[in-house]
């Protein structure tokens, strides 16, 4: 373990007010080291996505602190926080969430352009990223012309194209069949092997097992943390992930 990239300390998050309020996060703490892959597990509604959103600065928090690369992101202005996301973070979502009117290449380019890259530079880097996920030949396709697995690989390319410090993935395999799931997981493992820091939410134990650590949540709290790094480095076999 090296320096922590993410330091979540005692954060709480409550939705609604008064009678109707519900605590989505209750004093959650978590530290993620650079190059680590952390899986967040737990039943539906336990606060996994909320944790991801709060830790990445997409959503506000009601208490506690979140340090990302040493900076308290909730103390930043919204503008700066957004710039930080554009430059230092990548996101992968369950529903791929590509922009339907943009080609694969244009989708991948987007974070670079948002981070202020020059258009020509952005294009070549986006192509490289697509190549990395094995879809260089589909760069001109619209999302609707790609399969679910392919779309998710494009989404991953979009998540990593700008060499982010952290990639947040909320159930990236949740909508995929088993073949696509293993394809995506293989890709993520390759990227992880190259040093990517990955926080991945999943409710699938087989998928979670790919992580260095598994954080199990229940009812807005961290229930327990399992360390997988003690196990053989190979992780579960490629064929095993269930759907």
């Amino acid at each position: 373990m090296t320096t922590p990239v993410i330091h979540v300390k005692d954060i709480t998050k409550t939705y609604g007010e008064g009678q109707a309020s519900s605590s989505a996060l209750r004093n959650v703490s978590l530290t993620v080291a650079e190059g680590e892959w952390v899986s967040i597990m737990g039943p539906s509604g336990c606060g996994k996505s909320t944790l991801l959103n709060c830790a990445s600065g997409l959503d506000g928090i009601d208490g506690g602190t979140v340090l990302v690369e040493g900076e308290d992101i909730h103390a930043l202005s919204e503008r700066k926080r957004t710039v930080r996301r554009a430059r230092r973070m990548g996101f992968v979502f369950q529903g791929y969430n590509l922009i339907p009117v943009l080609s694969a290449l244009e989708n991948v380019e987007m974070p670079l352009l948002l981070g202020g890259a020059r258009p020509g530079n952005a294009r070549s880097r986006a192509l490289a990223a697509l190549e990395r996920v094995g879809l260089a030949d589909r760069s001109r396709h619209l999302p609707s012309q790609l399969s679910g697995g392919q779309q998710q690989r494009v989404a991953i390319a979009r998540g990593i194209v700008h060499d982010p410090a952290i990639v947040w993935a909320d159930e990236p395999t949740g909508a995929l069949d088993s073949a696509s799931t293993s394809e995506v997981l293989r890709l993520l493992r390759e990227l992880h092997a190259d040093g990517l820091t990955l926080i991945m939410v999943t409710h699938d134990p087989d998928v979670a097992a790919y992580g260095d650590r598994e954080v199990h949540m229940a009812d807005g709290r961290v229930d327990r943390v399992e360390d997988n790094s003690a196990r053989p480095a190979s992780g579960p076999s490629d064929a095993s992930p269930g759907v």
Partner: protein, 984 residues
Amino acid sequence: MSDALTLVVAVASPLLLIALVALTPRGRLSVRIAMRNAFRRPAQTLLVALGLSLAALLFSASFTLEAALHQAMRAQQTADLGGVDAVVTPVEADDREEPEQPEEAGEAADTGPPALDSDDVRSIEDALDEPGTTVSSLLSLPVPVEHERTERGEPGLTVVGAANNDDAVRLVDSSGEPLARDGLREDDILISGAASRDLRAERGDVLTVADRTMRVVGVYETGAPLAPPASAVVSLRELQEIADLPNRVNAVTLAYDREVTWEEREDPVHGELSSLARANDWEAEPLRASAHESADRLTTELSTLFLLFSQLSMVAGVLLIVLVVMMLAGERHAEFGVLRAMGMKRGRLAFVLALEGLGYAVLASAAGTLLGWAVGAGASRVLSDRVTDPALPPPRLEFGFDPVAMATAYLIGVGVIAVVFALVALRASKVDIVAALRGAEAPPRSRRRAVVLPVLALLAGLATAALGVRNGTATETLTGLTLVCGALGAGLPRLRVPQRLAHSAGAVAVIVLWSLPSELFGETGSGITIFFLSGIALVGAGVWLFVSNDDLVQRALRRLLAPLPRMTSVVPIAVAYSVRNRLRSGMTIAMLSIVVLTITLSGFVTAAVNQIYADHRSVTGGFDLQASWVSPGGAPPDLRSVFEESPHIDTSEVGRIGGYADVSVRARQIDAEAGAEEVGVWGADEDYLLGNRYPVFLRAPGLDSSEEVWDELRRSPNTAVVSGTMIPSDSAAFVGGGSDLELEGVDVLDEELPGDLRLEVAGPDGGTTTLRVIGVVDRSAEYLGDVVTSTEGLARITGEDASPTHWFVAAEDREEVGEVALAARRALLDHGVTVTPLQEEVEFRASSNGVVQWLLMAFMGFGLVVGCSALGVVSIRSITERRNQIGVLRAIGMQRSGIRRLFLIESLVVTVSGIALGVGLGFAVSPGLVDSLRVDLPGVTYTVPVAVLVVIIGATLVFSTLVSVLASRRAGDVPPAEALRDRT
């Protein structure tokens, strides 16, 4: 009462329909589903209802404004009637002596005006079969009035003498308070505001009235019946003494107990009274009924242009409805998939949606109709103050609620919305279940229908075009050819012609078709239908071209916008969305461009018509002053010699002078079906015939110029030139009312007049004279009688001397009209002749004309507001549709401002396209429209209304940008974490 009933039935019937459906068990379920849907997302429901209401509002505002226009016209036409509905006068004396209105001025009466005595009045009262009628006796005479202190005088001020307790006279002062006349003493006089201004006399001043001195005891604004704006009221006894007509009156006015709702010829005066009148040589006139009739005619004339605009607005409204309903159905796509998957039959699904639509229809239509009424009434209130004749006092108008018009507007709203809902429901119910559940777009639809429709359209088009060619009518030929082009463009891709090529070629062909002069395709008629059609066809084709080349448009726009600072990440998405959804953006663009086109066109018309009024001489025949002899006795003076002898005026400053005498007689067209009507006949002297500058646009065979016509008229006493108001026309020109007598067999578009166009004019003694019509002057000739003949011609009709009693004078130097007018007034005061400068009058007329036009434009501008609001509805809809995307973009680092820019550009692309298309088409169509005005107003010139265009474009841009900015702010404010949870 029955109107109220109409309203109730209209509002209730759709509700009743819903209630009936709700009674059946299956219907109840559908109603429940529909209700749930409406209340599940109140914001969405509100938005849909708002969009639909805006459309319905356009319908009812159109109706209201038209109804209001009608009422304004009626109010204007009846303004000088006071409480009088009809009048009986001794026939020789034209007691409605109105110096301002030459055609009304009467013959000179050498022996003093004929009058009625108390027996006559009693016989009239007895003869009346209309119960509850109030009968009043008035004496109304032109009397010389002078104001010593200000040295102002009026040789023939209309003075009304009425019994102090007479109800026909209801004077109201400028603050709207009634002026009491109970205490009116012998030497008291009440004067009108106009007279007070003319004489510079105020309350308390002393006036010389004929040979007496009278004190002004009050100034009224309105209420003197049968009098022009400048008038005075004294006690009846006093006026009888002044005029030396003891116990005589010259007008018996009737005020009916009932409201006048009948036609002119059904008026009670045409009943029992008519035989009495005929026996005594009196004239019984149904004043109010005929005023209503001319108001109706004026409204119809004004309405033609208005109709064009309101029809276009309505098309925009229908488009808006389609747009909103389609968005609603689009949003439910997935839900429909689920329902179908669960086993709901197609028909049932369509039924549920249609039922929901009916609910929306009732709600939105009711709200929109009421709002439209409010807006229309507001606009017409301003309008009413302006649509007034300078010769009449401004009418006080109250705009009521026209239940029938409102019920119609409401029902149209309900009908259109319900039908659109039903059609969209049928289409939407054909969801591809799998695709809908996956949230993907449905695969392309079956090819069969895509072939059938173009083939049908092609056949229909060919048939219509053939019919048009055979009949030689441009409207049909063009419509047919348009259908053919459209069908070919839409259908050819099925025959492996590249789609872009086929569609673009079809669209371009339609644009070319309608841009060509329509005369090429046959008779265009003088109507405006063709402009309506061309507007619609051009907008449709323009949008078609736009959407069938959306990829090119995208590329061009990207290239255009990308260099803008901080746009690189935003432009591709914005541009793609603004043109991707062809139907939605196409319809939004079409709607905006129709609205813009409408305003642009009305701007062009306004500019063209105003050109005429810019120079008063173009509507007065080249003259600057009008002079009228108003003295009750003696012979009219010879104006020229008066000028020569007078020390007040320098004859070298006077240019042309022309005089005429006029009478009002019955005339009919020989060999025509229509009967005789009242017309004003002028006997113009040689100076007038030589000196007037009216162009004669329709001439009898053999007469090659206006000069030849006037010359022929001078030489042959049995010829006549008639005013353009006697030729029926439905062109878009904003001028004047028609004449009672309309000539048959003559069209404004004719090359020349038929050689045998003759009028039979009845003289006062019962004999008839035939006049051959050798020319028609256009409608802009506002100072010309219906029928103009020579002095000798008129003498032959009346059998009396017809030396001029009215004159027109042109100043030698146009700059000195004011001085000449003053000098002429001084010179003529002692000769019983009044002088009116025409420039002010024409300017007033032009400005009130202009106000009508501006108000119509404001109404159109209102359409613009609706169009832009619709844009807002569309924008907000697309924000909700794309919440999730907004979340993603924000997550991967797009700033709020980026999201805002994204949506802003998106809607601006649509707006700018709409405006560009609308203005562009305005330029394409306007030359033809202005040309068609030339039919009635040969003087119109094509002018580009730069100011109007700038205002339109500016206002549209500003307003739509405002709407877009507001909408895009909402987009920027979407919280990303929450938006990401949104799966719609």
